[in-house]
Symmetry: D2
Subunit: 337 residues, 4 copies
């Protein structure tokens, strides 16, 4: 930590700060420049983060030297993590192609979707039983009934299944049916939920929050790893910006950025990121080219009738086009589905 | 709902859409302009919102006519809501001055803070027992022990107390100790939690999410009201933008905006909004001038030693300055603490 | 400047960096911590800013110690600057109330507006002759003809006039008619234009860019001061965020922030910031309470017929309400119009 | 245009609006729904855009039906535009690979860079003679001397050259030396400059503004086309968001979005978008996969010594890696350099 003193900071203020740092078990290095005095605090980073340095008289600002995360860091583990979900793998050479409807609506809808995406080349099935909806009057999902349908569709097609868990009380129940648990964007900083899925022996798909920085996203992953669950896949799904033509702004640079900072695999959700069917295929291709370890795409047998996100759900034929676009690119990037 | 067809939309596509709307129980009004055909869908707004109109062939875009919220709307209730929290009132002529430490750290810290803010004119006491922290290694709050200290400090000073509830499992417990439950910014779209506090007979302080629009914020309030709890106070606490000088960007226009859309009272949190002690007093004054129904301000007896948000916590003397600034302004805005 | 080396930086890389810094005339201070080596570069800040430190092998990041601006800084001049525009003053105890139509449309429209705002208490008249419009097909202003009308209206009412200059070629011409030159938000980083108005002996009203940080705004002011023109008034007019209910997001914390960083006066434009007539009065009050040195407000005799920004132009009676709100607040903040 | 009346709008207010629309030569269609009355205004879109509908009593909001642009629209011209710059083409099957230093610094620096990028496969040379710098104390470019060096390097290597023009006075001069004129991001809404380059017989590279929506970007292109210059290439270079790890956020979805709205070619600048050397190669690949018609990349013989943007300039060997990544992808996307 580097602490910059105000131009008019007094000797007493500098001494007071240094004394406090020492009291916390840190050593301090004072450097007087031509315009500002700088104090370098040396020692355990965690202690430093807890000290409200700007609250000290005479302090102008403090600047962190190290990243705030540890277990998720490339410094901690240099080789890329490969996450196993049933028979599928995500990370390293393994490309995860997650597909399925936004919400589980009925047995027929789900099994139709599952068979289609399986036939076209998906290796994981998605579908929501608990749906976070901005309106209390919108369809909220089938709940446990939906989970049963999902587990059944997974069994029938041989696809491992991933579904969202919305609160700490659902973790056990969802864990009984699903092969992978998804933390939605709106829950990325639901820290109790992160801790709860950190105690589960299931891989986690952690979506980036709408307004989360890359570092905050990695800190949320750190919550999960710090509880002992190292099977985390990050998912970039667009951030909120001023642009309104797309539902969100897909931040594809976050893929190589997260991968240079962390060993965890990163997949991309072009459906939520764009909210427009016409943009999903190009963004799926771009995600692979940017180095993504997989995709998650919403596919519905009849988007017009979808109870959730029909506007951005692909027809199976449109999904086939995405697959056809992706397949010849995979070898260029050393990936296989 | 107004649906704009693509320039090249066929007669068959228009008919298909109209048929679907009728099937959903809506009537349709087709208007052919010089450049585009427009379909007006007339009927119950909730049905309309569930139809993925952009998924229909030939549709260019759809545009909503009505606001998506109902119970929180000024259309539904024209007079401003006044929320009673113990002896204090927020809304209408009543200005709520909520103050106290970010986190409850010890009996001494809390009771010192409570006595100070009471003496200076606060009419509600705040303090966190469960703290949402972006790092798993940061102080996470004292939990139920903290709630007990809070209830005790409230009793001793006569101040009603407000504290954050982070997950559905804590709602009952927190409700036993607190007079008002706070939903934090990161949980503004934790819909299960919103539903849970909607079933409680306690007033709720609903913070705006970091990247939530005013309408999404009101929709989250709608979740609570739709469960039967009408005692909701909205809290603007800054949104996330590109500006880094301040911790967040305080969106003060959201105060009169929320108040023209909704009957609910709106308070402002200048501490989290700015993250800088020097900016809290001017933003507190500006909030009142913008029409806010109250303020929530972090005050700590010794900010340097704070375990959470010390950088933005006011010394009691600094809080006194805020109060001194605010008091002569109150009559101009028809408010009393 | 503090330079943080990568964890795996070699001795040779550190030496190479240090040698380069010395070559540039700076001295270097190397500090080896437990996890990172840090190099402090000591010397003239301007030289440091020009060195692409992240381009050096082994460098992780560099962090600036000082603000990049100088002449606009409070460090350079501690007392607040008061800018004189004809008989009016802005800054210190002097509150500037700038009002008038968005665009000058006709002699009658302008003189009607000018008389009204003068009668109601404005002390400067605004009106655009050159209008930056996002559409090439929109009304672009009356040009020099408009400037003549403006000068005439100023003469007749005794109000000094402020108007926008859009390109370097217009600076001389606009300077012949106007008492104060406005740099619009879209031109805040039109550096040639900034330099050009820096050479003029007229006060400048510098609007903040839609996506400019406070520091970039001050850097643009620095351009003007660096050419010898110290008569600059900053104008906060809303920044672009994800919120769509308002045209922009008024960043009122930028007012005390700019004033603690700089000695220049700061005024607020609630018309462009909100784009909604109903929000202009509360934001005008809030601006004053936040410490603003003035306001600029669009007033049109008949907003329905306005050729530009009619949606956000106040009727004279609405402007009267703003004035009536503001007047009793002025003494509380030590200001007079 | 669809105009939604307030719930409490009176018959007189509706009639007043309808009368005004008719006065403007538009016809009006009034539709009374269960909750709101809607007025459809039918006629020439340009007239509609100039009417400040929200200024009318009783109006809640108005919603546009058509895009505001015309000449740049796919509706106007369905086939993709191919822009010819000297021997190079951009658009359709033709991929433009623009490379060179941020700023022209010396004859040796420029010719070294030019020869390298030519040898590696670039087909256009870039280099700035007039540099928009946020600090008045930073290197501002060599001016006309730089333009001469650029023209000379272009001649020697056979590469057409592109360089930025910063103000209306420079347009003629820059046009004498350059094959393509660049409008920088900060000038995207410098409307006088757009008009000026619209009158030139040279292709234009129009960068997207930092906070410009896709539609505003297209409207700026419309300015140029409306003056008779149809040779415009759009350039996505990142937008400003809350994320600070990257210099800007590269909005790659804007590439297929702009291409579905417009016939103009779109290239991508991963250098400014990311500001980090490590992210340029993945984003270059992703841009191609998203459908971009070209790239513009900063390459400097010695980034450490660069006077501008050295942090994000590639070494020639790094640029070679980008080219090697791109080449095998081109056939998959039907493109050739």
């Amino acid at each position: 930590m580097v602490i910059v003193m105000r131009k008019d900071a007094t000797e007493a203020q500098i001494n007071h700060l240094v004394a406090k740092l020492k009291e916390k078990g840190l050593s301090a290095h004072v450097s007087k420049g031509t315009e500002r005095t700088i104090v370098g605090a040396i020692g355990d980073e965690r202690i430093l983060q807890a000290v409200p340095l700007a609250a000290f008289p005479g302090v102008e600002k403090s600047m962190q030297i190290l990243q705030p995360f540890k277990l998720v860091s490339r410094d901690f583990k240099a080789e890329p993590t490969v996450v196993q979900v049933g028979p599928a793998k995500i990370g390293g050479r393994h490309f995860g192609m997650i597909a399925g409807p936004c919400a589980i609506e009925s047995e027929e809808q789900l099994i139709t979707a599952a068979r289609k995406v399986k036939a076209l080349g998906a290796n994981l099935l998605r579908g929501g039983a608990f749906k976070p909806r901005s309106s209390p009057y919108a369809f909220q999902g089938l709940g446990e009934e939906g989970l049963k349908l999902l587990a059944q569709a997974g069994k029938e097609t041989g696809l491992p299944v991933v579904t969202e868990v919305m609160n700490v009380n659902q973790v056990d129940m969802v864990g009984q049916y699903a092969d992978m648990l998804q933390i939605g964007a709106r829950n990325m900083q639901n820290f109790d939920l992160l801790r709860a899925v950190g105690e589960v022996k299931k891989p986690i798909l952690l979506k980036r929050g709408l307004s989360a920085t890359i570092k905050e996203w990695l800190m949320s992953a750190e919550y999960i790893l710090s509880q002992g669950n190292y099977e985390v896949v990050l998912c970039e799904r667009g951030i909120r910006t001023f642009e309104t033509y797309t539902r969100n702004t897909l931040d594809l640079a976050a893929v190589p950025a997260a991968k240079e900072l962390s060993h965890l695999p990163v997949v991309v959700d072009p459906s939520h990121a764009t909210g427009r069917r016409s943009l999903i295929a190009p963004m799926a291709r771009a995600a692979l080219a940017a180095g993504a370890d997989g995709l998650t795409i919403e596919v519905h047998p009849h988007p017009e009738d979808a109870l959730c996100d029909g506007d951005q759900s692909l027809h199976p034929e449109e999904f086939e086009q995405v697959i056809n676009d992706i397949k010849p690119m995979l070898p260029l990037f050393g990936k296989t589905i």
